[in-house]
């Protein structure tokens, strides 16, 4: 039988060295007795000699070490033995021991770790400092009663948060002190070392009582997260019984009160005055309320065309994409950026053209926190043609560029094979008996989808060539 006496309740280094030595010398868990030195000689130098580790390799899974570091803080006298048992099993070949989630020993360790983590979290939540003003300056002092031995491991959290304050957290088994530069630990303390009140506590209690909604009384939910054992050290908890007792009466009086028959005054905030701008501005404003097809509902907004009202070239795409829908402007997303680059290369100034889409709302399917683009259908194209025709009739461009199949269908009213018809100027009736010129090319988003790099470069060059052609035709 071997006996290990640890220096204190969270003597991680001592436990680790002993466990390693014991495992290497093949000491069976049942043959080891673990204990902690008497509290009274807590800060005395250790007298007994460490168990000498025989030579040999010793590795246990990293996750098990992390688990042990947490479990050693648990207030359970059996924890040292339990942890050694897990180490011993891992050392003897059970490398995946932590994956055995239904193994009783693994479960016990996991539950202890969970309890320690919860207590750690609750300490971060429920420590309440009281301000003490002294000639040397202001100090903050707290009395807290943790369930487990968590003060040492948890104190750095408070140091990170309250680094510029001088503070002490006193608990029955250990005290932590921060002097503005370093942490120091001392023996336990008593609640009488903390002042009874603080100048802001009345405010905090008032806040706690006022933020409570009596119409949602759920005492069980409160107790589950803020167990009663913590209440005696929480200044706000004193208000709880009264809040619970009066809640139902407060709700009854609200439900039964005579309803307030407010003569609805007319709205004070006037809607933005309708500015009478250009016909295109007017059209854009009307389109904002468009309900011609169901696409308006899931989208953010109509994305109307924009550009010069005197443009000789009108460029029509398919529909706004995700970014366009959020920003409310056409061609600002990835395809728009590609278009900008290609236009610049071709010497086509975006300021001088008019850019728009065949369909003015973004069509998509939701997928988690993203939206997947969907091609607009013929119905949507037809519904939206009203706005496109209006834009065409107002701008009266010399050249109408259809980028992609949707734009071509919207303008020509028929299915178009882009590869066969692209790059050829065609006469286009302007609706008033006259003729303008139409021109088909690919949609810039097509270039983004070409998988292989060589093909992509070829397609891009072809697109720029089309744009150069457009410059010539519009001249």
């Amino acid at each position: 039988m071997k006996s290990v006496v640890l220096a204190h309740e969270v003597d991680w280094a001592g436990w680790r060295a002993a466990a390693r030595a014991l495992a290497l010398s093949d000491a069976a868990p049942d043959d080891v007795v673990w204990s902690v030195r008497n509290v009274s000689d807590l800060f005395a130098e250790p007298e007994d000699e460490a168990i000498a580790a025989p030579p040999g390799g010793f590795t246990v899974p990293r996750a098990l070490v992390t688990l042990a570091e947490t479990v050693i803080q648990a207030r359970d006298p059996e924890r040292f033995a339990l942890l050694y048992r897990l180490i011993w099993r891992a050392h003897r070949g059970e490398k995946h021991i932590l994956e055995m989630t239904t193994d009783p020993e693994v479960q016990r360790a996991q539950r202890l770790a969970q309890a320690v983590r919860r207590d750690t979290h609750k300490m971060r939540a429920f420590v309440r400092f009281r301000e003490v003003t002294e000639p040397e300056g202001t100090r903050y002092v707290s009395w807290f009663e943790p369930e487990h031995y968590i003060v040492e491991a948890n104190a750095p959290f408070f140091a990170r948060r309250f680094a510029t304050m001088i503070w002490s957290i006193l608990t029955p088994y250990r005290s932590a002190h921060w002097d503005g530069e370093a942490l120091r630990f001392d023996v336990g303390a008593s609640p009488s070392e903390v002042p009874d009140d603080d100048r802001l506590e009345a405010y905090w209690r008032a806040y706690y009582s006022s933020i409570f909604n009596p119409a949602r009384l759920k005492v069980g939910a409160m107790r589950a997260e803020m167990p009663q054992k913590y209440w005696r050290n929480l200044p706000e908890a004193a208000a709880i019984p009264e809040l619970i007792r009066t809640a139902s009466g407060r709700v009854d009086s609200m439900v039964e009160q005579p309803v307030f028959s407010d003569p609805r005054p007319s709205r004070i905030v006037a809607p933005p005055a309708a500015e009478h701008g250009s016909p295109l501005h007017e059209a854009a404003r009307e389109a904002a309320d468009c309900r011609r097809c169901p696409l308006w509902e899931p989208a953010t907004q109509v994305v109307f065309g924009e550009g010069s009202p005197n443009a000789r070239v009108m460029m029509i795409g398919e529909q706004p994409g995700d970014q366009e829908d959020l920003a409310g402007r056409p061609f600002v997303g990835p395809a728009g950026q590609l278009l900008d680059r290609a236009m610049q290369e071709a010497g086509l100034d975006r300021q001088t053209v008019y850019v728009t889409n065949a369909v003015k709302h973004f069509k998509f399917v939701p997928r988690g926190k993203r939206r997947i683009h969907e091609k607009p259908g013929t119905g949507e194209i037809n519904a939206c043609r009203f706005w496109l025709d209006l834009e065409r009739a107002t701008i009266k461009p010399a050249l109408t560029v259809m980028m992609g199949a949707t734009a071509a269908r919207a303008v020509l009213g028929r299915a178009v094979a882009i590869t066969r018809e692209r790059g050829q100027p065609m006469p286009l009736p302007d609706g008033k008996g006259g003729n303008t010129t139409g021109f088909i090319t690919v949609h810039p988003s097509y270039l983004l989808r070409v998988p292989d790099e060589d093909a992509k470069a070829r397609e891009y060059a072809a697109f720029v060539a089309d744009l150069r052609r457009i410059v010539e035709l519009a001249a």
């Binding site: 994956e99 989630t101 239904t102 979290h121 971060r124 939540a125 429920f126 420590v127 309440r128 400092f129 301000e131 959290f157 948060r161 309250f162 680094a163 304050m165 603080d198 009345a202 405010y203 008032a206 806040y207 706690y208 009582s209 006022s210 933020i211 409570f212 909604n213 009596p214 119409a215 949602r216 759920k218 005492v219 069980g220 939910a221 409160m222 997260e225 709880i240 809640a247 709700v251 609200m254 439900v255 039964e256 009160q257 309803v259 307030f260 407010d262 709205r267 004070i268 905030v269 899931p298 953010t300 907004q301 970014q323 829908d325 959020l326 409310g328 939701p366 988690g368 926190k369 939206r371």
Partner: protein, 405 residues
């Protein structure tokens, strides 16, 4: 009016906002700093719980409860005869720092009634955050309520100081909002959320970009103030998540307010419905359910007596029993009573041994609920699954439901 009286009024006025999260922001620490105070480490902390079971993480207050808007569901609406108060910027800063130093809060959630104009109000709200950050080196969490009609410049400034921004959509439908909140405008709210998403994504994508709301944006929808069905509400929340990348869509059961308008239902808050909506929302976000799979009645509402996964399973008995030793993760997530965590533990355990029923019990699954839907090495559910009384067996007794009623 003294500060204590103001605090009571302006906290009371803020309690109808469900959000109190302080999670998901960047890591900040005061270690090595000469001045200032505070830290954020990703995980939020709930410093107290009120008897309504809600977490108190932030000092949640309004700058003022005076408001020129007249939203019927709101206690602070223009036509309400509630007592009015207004904090100065300094008062909010003092309270925030005072509570923070005592470890009562993670930070501030500041909202406001609209006074004078949206821009004026937003400017005041932003000034509080700016003072905390720049004059007091405050490194705790700040959540600012954004006013949809405020200028883009103010929005940009708000995002620089705040961890999270939010605009409440308030109602599940545009019509509902127009009827109950005549001055609010759904398209404008959605456009603002769109602008925020662009800024948030941009700041996240580029390291050199100016900081903008690293903890993202959230919103709240009031449930039960209008007659929107569960289908409408869930479609709206799905849409908001995908369109604006929201961290959270909060549902808030409409709870009676003093001096309520005659148009509103004078009823107790529909807390059970709120709970079921959250469960359904969870199924879609973490359990791979599609909106059209949820069991809804002809009016588009869920059965309140059972959780939506159980309701789905009872309508799809042909897909059960699921063999816990062979079913995929996606399939196991469909078993009533199995959560994401317990399924992941089950999958780990399964790599090392064939599972029996007591393994499931050891994983602390609710066995009454799970048993009819699974097969294990030593167990077959027999005729349980076909029993017409299965629903009765599994639905909790009315007494338990009253907790939410």
């Amino acid at each position: 009016m003294d500060l204590l009286a103001k605090l009571k009024i302006l906290a009371d006025a803020a309690k109808y906002d469900a959000s109190c999260a302080s999670s998901g922001t960047v890591t900040r620490s005061s270690l090595g700093e000469k001045t200032g105070v505070g830290s954020t480490e990703g995980m939020g902390i709930c410093h107290a719980y009120a008897p309504d079971g809600r977490c108190i993480s932030l000092l949640k207050i309004l700058l003022t409860n005076s408001c020129i808007y007249d939203c019927l569901y709101c206690i602070n609406r223009r036509s309400s005869n509630v007592q009015r108060a207004r904090f100065t910027v300094e008062e909010v800063v003092t309270l925030t720092l005072g509570f923070y130093r005592r470890n009562c809060i993670e930070g501030l959630f500041l909202s406001s009634g609209i006074i004078r104009s949206p821009d004026y109000t937003m400017e005041q709200v932003v000034r509080v955050a700016k003072t905390l950050r720049e004059e007091h080196g405050f490194r705790g969490y700040i959540h600012l309520k954004t006013i949809p009609d405020a200028s883009p410049e103010l929005l940009l400034e708000a995002g620089r100081y705040a961890d999270r921004l939010s605009i409440n959509v308030e109602m599940p439908t545009e019509d509902g909002l127009a009827r109950l909140a005549p001055e609010k405008d759904m398209p404008s709210i959605r456009r603002s959320m769109g602008r925020m998403r662009l800024r948030i994504d941009e700041a996240k994508a580029e390291k050199k970009a100016v900081r903008f709301a690293p903890a993202g944006q959230s919103t709240q929808m009031i449930v039960g103030a209008d007659d929107s069905s569960d289908r409408k509400i869930l479609a709206q929340s799905t849409n908001l998540y995908s369109n604006y990348g929201l961290r959270r869509v909060y549902f808030s059961a409409f709870s009676p307010i003093p001096n309520a308008s005659a148009i509103l239902p004078p009823k107790r808050a529909p807390l059970l419905r709120e709970h079921r909506l959250y469960q359904a929302d969870w199924l879609m976000r973490f359990y791979e359910f599609k909106a059209d799979e949820l069991a809804l009645d002809a009016a588009g509402n869920m059965d309140l007596s059972m959780d939506p996964k159980l309701a789905w399973a009872l309508q799809h008995r042909e897909q059960f029993p699921m063999d816990v030793n062979t079913a995929t993760r996606e399939q196991l997530l469909r078993v009533p009573g199995m959560g994401v965590k317990s399924v992941d533990k089950l999958l780990q355990a399964r790599r090392h041994r064939r599972l029996r029923m007591d393994d499931l019990a050891r994983l602390r699954m609710p066995m009454d609920k799970v048993a009819p839907f699974v097969v294990a090495l030593d167990y077959q559910p027999g005729g349980l699954l076909d029993s017409a009384r299965l629903a009765q067996r599994l639905v909790p007794k009315p007494a338990q439901l009253e907790m939410f009623a």
